[in-house]
Subunit: 164 residues, 2 copies
């Protein structure tokens, strides 16, 4: 399976790298990784091949897994976009900004087949300096199976303390 050399999640600070979807330190997690799409300038990409248990019914992928892919692809895409705006690229060794999801919308256009890698391709728009909209298409076997929109917000420094 195609693998990104540099993913933005590789540059999240350790304390923000425990996400079940995309945290590199979460042993049981999905380890979703988001980078720039080399084939489409300015687009972002996350490639993931679901595990055998991630089915809805035999032969087809579970919607919640697809929602998870769109969620972390959304926060990762917002992060890589803002990181570039700040003058950095994944792999530069500089901590990338960490986002949280404010809202998530997923449209299931057709059943997603098992046994193939899924490619989420995203486009990022800035709504506000700390708020970004990421529109994503998920491809399986070359067809768009699912689309999604994430509104992602920069995680405040006080996120953990404020919400205890």
């Amino acid at each position: 399976m195609e693998k990104l050399k540099h993913a933005i999640q590789d540059d999240y600070d350790d304390s923000y790298s425990w996400c079940y979807g995309c945290g590199r330190l979460n042993e049981d997690g999905l380890h979703l990784r988001t980078g720039w799409d080399e084939d489409n300038e300015g687009n972002t990409i996350t490639i993931y091949e679901p595990r055998k248990e991630h089915k809805a019914i035999p032969g087809f992928i579970y919607g919640g897994l697809l929602a998870s892919l769109i969620d972390c692809h959304g926060t990762g895409s917002a992060s890589i976009f803002l990181h570039r705006k700040n003058g950095y690229e994944p792999g530069d060794g500089k901590d990338a900004p960490r986002f949280v999801t404010a809202s998530l919308k997923v449209n299931f256009l057709r059943p997603t087949p098992e046994g193939v890698p899924l490619k989420a391709i995203g486009v990022v728009e800035e709504i506000h300096p700390k708020k970004f909209r990421v529109t994503t298409e998920v491809y399986a076997d070359g067809k768009v199976v699912v689309t999604g929109v994430v509104t992602a917000v920069v995680m405040p420094d006080t996120f953990i303390e404020d919400n205890k």
Copy 2:
């Protein structure tokens, strides 16, 4: 943790019981179970305590897991609603109708704490005899942390064959 006696997923036909979110036959799955809420006539309920790995950052639950909860709670709520309309209740020993998700919207209102059971409470509306809208509020520690809307459609008998 509170446990439902009768869940609609217990009455899905075996061939539709492999869902990662709510399939009783998926060994690695979440085993989400949806029933009527005895405290709120006509509302549906799914109770789930996330696993330790289901975090976003330490202390808080992953958004994709919350989306998964809303997804299966949505299809389960549509099923239990239509099952009652057809004259049956969970536990009657009659196969329940199986739904697929057409769309899913999730609003993350506040961070969801780890270590407590989550309660998804749903209200079902019929849009069309085969299409239902399920509006859900997820509670943690008595507060609404996430809301969601699922549009669920009766799975066609030919779903598997049509999509091969």
